[in-house]
């Protein structure tokens, strides 16, 4: 097991009707609150009314319009508004994009630095405190300090580290109005987050392996019912808990991490606009195929414990586990090939070019570089229908 530090001070407030607790959670000294929203779905699902009713007469301003894959251009406007209002607490009401945007807003509120410079600096020096009301289980951003921000004019997308939310409210009923595609992408995102922390080296921690396998097994178990109907409270609870636990650090104690799938996925999204979760399900099966020797032992454990594959040769079990993974994503209605998702060669070329220009290499072996990325693209290009 590797040395590690774990610090996750977010207060998680989970369950039906918990938005009403906002007045107890927002610091009592708060004199100017800014509430950050996305595109307006919260007006339809009742969340907006619940939030407004809960905050009562706490002085506040609203910022609307954080887009999926939040852009620094939009965030700059929120920062201006927040500075004008001398905001001392920010409440993010939305999914991972709204929360990620808020993580940059609270950093930019404390400095004269441009927001994009903060992203490029990799870590915010100082932040205003903030809380969240989560509406889309997927990114885990509600209980970690990370954020991913896009820049529209250059089609770039980078991660940076900010602060943890002071609190996050998770009411499973809020998610009933999500579309099947949103739920599918959220499940895929949670699944791949776990894989990034699991499918690396064997034998680093029995407990972390079990935790990771536990979340994967749960996502696989609940997905078929969940993509059909989103109003099963118990299923939604497990979906929400899976997505949060997948990326709050709890399954990462002392284990080697990967994140190469995310690095490639981010570029695809930045260049094509494809939803984050949808980009990951294309890259992951190819990543497993290309790095099968490096990941052999863990793939075998994954095959056995997550997919219950006990018979056949080692290679047959690995083949089958990768196939079942890809089948699983397809069963969620998500294409697993670039061609099926409408991603053309020009995007592949640009991702490879960027990796080469930046001289980057990712993954637990630091060997997912531009060349390896090209091989991965070769492996997930052709339509699956042509198999």
């Amino acid at each position: 097991m590797r040395n590690f530090e774990y610090y996750c001070p977010t207060r998680l407030v989970f369950g039906e009707g918990r938005i009403a607790k906002l007045p107890d959670l927002i610091p009592s000294g708060c004199r100017s609150l800014m509430i950050v929203f996305g595109g307006g779905s919260v007006r339809k699902n009742g969340v907006y009314e619940q939030v407004k009713a809960a905050i009562g007469n706490i002085p506040h301003t609203e910022f609307w319009g954080i887009e999926p894959n939040p852009c620094v251009e939009t965030i700059r406007r929120a920062v201006e508004q927040g500075k004008r209002a001398s905001v001392d607490f920010v409440l993010a009401v939305g999914g991972g994009s709204v929360i990620d945007a808020t993580k940059l807003i609270v950093a930019a509120l404390c400095t004269d630095m441009d927001a994009w410079e903060i992203v490029l600096s990799k870590k915010a020096e100082q932040t205003k405190p903030f809380g969240t009301v989560l509406t889309v289980p997927a990114t885990g951003s509600e209980m970690n300090s990370g954020a991913v921000i896009s820049r529209a004019d250059t089609k770039e997308k980078f991660a940076f580290s900010s602060a943890h939310p002071v609190f996050s409210i998770l009411d499973p009923k809020v998610t009933y109005s999500l579309s099947s595609h949103q739920v599918a992408c959220g499940l895929a995102d949670a699944f791949v987050h776990v894989i990034e922390q699991y499918l690396t080296l064997c034998g680093e921690s029995r407990v972390m392996d079990r935790f990771a396998e536990g979340v994967l097994s749960t996502v696989i178990e609940i997905a078929p019912s969940l993509v059909k109907r989103h109003d099963d409270y118990d299923l939604m609870c497990d979906y929400m808990v899976s997505a949060t636990a997948a990326l709050n650090g709890m399954i990462a104690w002392g284990v080697t991490q990967d994140w190469a799938t995310h690095m490639i996925g981010h570029e695809i999204t930045a260049l094509s606009g494809l939803t984050h979760g949808a980009s990951l399900v294309i890259v992951l099966p190819a990543m497993m195929r290309v790095l099968r020797e490096q990941k052999r032992q863990k793939l075998l454990q994954y095959a056995e414990r997550v997919w219950n594959l006990h018979v056949g040769t080692e290679d047959e079990r690995i083949d089958r586990a990768i196939e079942l993974t890809e089948d699983f994503f397809c069963s969620l209605g998500l294409p697993t090939r670039l061609e099926d998702a409408g991603i053309g060669r020009e995007i592949e070329d640009e991702v490879v070019r960027r990796f080469r220009d930046r001289s980057v290499s990712f993954g637990e072996g630091r060997n997912v570089d531009a060349d390896c990325c090209r091989v991965i693209f070769d492996c997930c290009r052709s339509s699956r229908a042509k198999k």
Copy 2:
């Protein structure tokens, strides 16, 4: 899934050599530190020297002599010493007893209330900040806000709620000098902590069930090697992580909890001095047997997922799972019957009398009262050798 709040702000600093990080972890403004120790084992295993070397010239005072099952009488002396020194940060160096005692010390430092009154009030109003250097993985106290305190003159033992440690340092190498009995009791404690949060109702959370089963499976897997030798770094890592994860709230999100085994175990310890973990392994198998109908569905899940029991009737699988649980504790060298542990009828009678006097009832069904406790004692009285 039940509504829940989760808040665990302790910074976990894990790994070899991490005690040297103390100067970065103790708040820089600390003007008077008190270090709380147990009986002196830290002088033999090098921890004392590491701590002293790390804190350098931070002004500090030492308090020695916290006993196993820490007594309020000892704690009062520590509080007096701390008040005289105007202590503003406390460092607990030891196992669960030292950490639990420190949780009461930091509360009593903030008030004129007697320490036992704080325990009886169930929750400390205010505390000084504190950190820990853990030397015995068992109670999970290093990452939660709970503590259990004894009173020597009345032989009472009660839990109360204090604050979380600001940080906890877990260096697996520190545990190499533990005795086999200490490791056995620590493993048993961690195991039963998980069971208290798991063996109640079925279907409340798939993720929490998987997490709980993951810790149980790990403890079962590592125990045989671990009780024989304590210098296997990787095994010790998993033992430490299991004990911490067993009681830091991570496996308790939204699930019904039990804790009846602990309530009976605490009384046995208070009256007989039996080590905490050793008391639990006597009560638990009997608890499973007596409440088998109430816990039937979860016992079946436990049998299947933790003990891999897939054949036989339901009752056969439950019988076997309980037997394997008791065998497991015996394999750690811990007696699982009152007679084998030298606990006489007079102690049984006193526990039952106390429960009756206090009109208490425990467990997820609130039905473990004085009468039920008597039935449980009947079930774990006779020596196992007589079976």
